[in-house]
């Protein structure tokens, strides 16, 4: 039976630097309790996040570094204590029923945290033992997973000498060892070569087809687009958009984004660009740039160029991008995912 995931109004404020891979926004602010107290560093990472991930779905959390993605995963996997709010895996309250929750989940962390005192095969076999899997079955599963992740030859070596990609593969194999109902993957393909990334995507899809729920975080919109059935875009610990990749992309005005830069810019340029046919929205990006959301892309350029010339503005750079989650993020936050 597939298991869903739910969070309600999750907040998390770190009082010291959050652990790596669970970074907050690193905003320092004074403690609100009173002026007499010494100002205390507060690092808000989550600010009222409510999510509902359906049983048997591949769900993506998309956002830049420090958006609160890893903190969300941390709370859902018992590793981070929420400041307020609740989280459930299936029917189990994550904070109150930790052991039951841990049976249901498999976790692939952002950075491999493999047991360096063991060999690759031992890591899998002991992991199976922690979950009470009998000796015969855990040995069989370990061998099958080593084979699936192309690690059989290195199975009896200590993992200390493994490459980053091999460690990542082994981390995923370990998370699958006890056949969890919900699989969490925090930035699963960061640092993987393209070939391994495709292998990973296939494995995630296959796991999902077996009726499992998958929650992954990424700041790679290509990955979110390729894998996820639904995506939540998060920034500064809040959800700013939710939907299927298609729905989200369709929500960008016009779909096309033209990022323009001018050597010098005049005041009426923005208004006049707004009036061009097919232009949905024009926003000032900074003092020399304008973002134009439009129904068409390249065919607008001659008109923009002549309009700029007639205003006395000099067009210095043009970048056209097609409908994408990157544009969506930019549209909602005014920032690029890579910022």
């Amino acid at each position: 039976m597939a298991v869903g995931v739910r969070t309600q109004d999750l907040r998390k404020v770190y009082h010291s630097a959050p652990p790596l891979g669970a970074g907050g926004g690193f905003v320092m602010r004074a403690d609100a309790k009173g002026a007499k107290q010494q100002p205390k560093a507060q690092i808000p990472a989550l600010d009222g996040l409510s999510l509902e991930i359906r049983a048997g779905e591949i769900f993506g959390l998309l956002g830049p570094n420090g958006a609160g993605k890893s903190t969300t995963i941390g709370i859902l996997t018992t590793r981070v204590r929420p400041t307020s709010g609740q989280a459930w895996i299936g029917e189990h309250d994550v904070w109150k029923e930790q052991a039951e929750v841990k049976f249901l989940i498999g976790v692939v962390p952002q950075r491999p945290n493999l047991d360096f005192s063991l060999t690759a095969r031992e890591i899998l076999v002991f992991h199976g033992a922690y979950f009470g899997i009998g000796s015969k079955l855990r040995n069989e599963r370990a061998d099958a997973l080593l084979d699936k992740f192309k690690l059989t030859e290195r199975g009896n070596q200590m993992v200390r000498g493994f490459s980053g990609g091999m460690m990542q593969r082994l981390s995923i194999a370990r998370a699958m060892m006890h056949d969890p109902q919900v699989l969490f993957l925090d930035e699963p393909s960061a640092g993987l070569d393209p070939q391994t990334r495709i292998l990973l995507w296939d494995i995630i899809r296959e796991y999902h087809q077996a009726g499992k729920t998958v929650l992954l975080t990424t700041h790679n919109m290509e990955e979110a687009d390729a894998l996820c059935q639904r995506i939540a875009i998060v920034d500064h610990g809040r959800m700013i958009a939710l939907g299927t990749p298609e729905e989200l992309k369709a929500s960008i005005p016009g779909g096309f984004l033209l990022r323009l830069r001018f050597g010098n810019q005049t005041d009426d340029l923005l208004q006049r660009l707004q009036a061009l046919k097919g232009v949905r929205e024009v926003r000032a990006a900074d003092s020399t740039g304008l973002d134009v959301y439009a129904d068409r892309g390249g065919s607008l350029i001659p008109e923009i160029a002549s309009l700029a010339a007639s205003c006395g503005a000099e067009l210095s750079d043009v970048h056209i991008s097609e409908p994408s989650l990157e544009n969506l993020f930019l549209h909602h936050t005014g920032r690029s995912l890579r910022d």
Binding site: R79, E100, N113, S117, L118, F126, H127, A129, Y130
Partner: protein, 256 residues
């Protein structure tokens, strides 16, 4: 409580300890055995120390070996695994509550400390002999004392290992372990401090004093030692105190 998980965690620690057995062996026994050789054999043999010193020294050496092993066996892996690699995470995700994971570490440390205590007896006896007179008069008292000593060392390892960072390991040994060993009545009986009354009172905060004196009471009953009841009471107190502190620190480190 998932006993299967608990025993699997214990099996993992036993497996790693077996793999590192030789290193652990040298790390644990070389220093105490050299000490036994110089003070028990050379100094006594050359007449600088009285022959009875051999028997007084042995319980202290057992206490040091056990304490050192227990602290080391728990604290060092914890410090390393809580560092940026967060190796301990896969065990924190095992289906058992976080407190039991810490208790498993304590049990594993206690077992190693007990093995160390039992191995050092014949080794030291071989180095010191002849002239060592030890006897286990009351096996139950002896068993209780070594279990409590193993407990305080492993719980101490949990408290230290969950409170310290890798860069402070050197400091831990120079600021905690070294004074503890020198003021732990391991190399001399507590009664030898009669002429230093203030020091004699101050060292009573050191759990190793009770470990050394307790083992002395159990193995060399003829020598002067602290009352057995006081020793057991104090060891029990330190076991509980360090366990409570250790569990709290472990919990803080395990969950952010």
């Amino acid at each position: 409580m998932n006993w299967k998980t608990f025993f699997a965690l214990l099996a993992r620690d036993a497996h790693v300890a077996r793999r590192n057995a030789m290193q652990l062996f040298l790390q644990t026994f070389l220093q105490p055995l050299l000490f036994v050789f110089i003070f028990g054999r050379v100094m006594v043999g050359s007449g600088y120390m009285r022959p009875e010193y051999k028997s007084l020294l042995l319980p202290g050496i057992i206490a040091i070996s056990m304490t050192f092993t227990g602290v080391w066996a728990v604290a060092m892996p914890l410090i390393a695994e809580f560092q940026w690699t967060r190796e301990i995470e896969d065990r924190l995700l095992a289906p058992i509550s976080v407190g039991w994971i810490a208790i498993e570490k304590v049990i594993a440390g206690m077992l190693q400390a007990l093995v160390a205590g039992l191995v050092v007896i014949p080794l030291a006896w071989l180095v010191l002999r002849p002239g060592v007179e030890i006897s286990i008069g009351t096996p139950l008292t002896f068993a209780l004392i070594i279990v409590l000593v193993a407990g305080f060392s492993a719980c101490g390892g949990l408290a230290l290992g969950s409170s310290m960072d890798q860069q402070h390991i050197g400091l831990m040994f120079s600021m905690v372990m070294t004074p503890m060993i020198f003021f732990g009545c391991a190399y001399y009986p507590w009664s030898a401090l009669n002429k230093f009354p203030i020091l004699q009172k101050v060292v009573l905060v050191n759990p190793l004093v009770y470990a050394s004196e307790g083992l002395r009471a159990a193995l060399v009953p003829k020598a002067s030692h602290l009352p057995v009841a006081a020793v057991i009471g104090a060891l029990l107190f330190f076991d509980v105190l360090l366990l409570v502190v250790g569990l709290r620190q472990f919990g803080k480190k395990a969950v952010t």
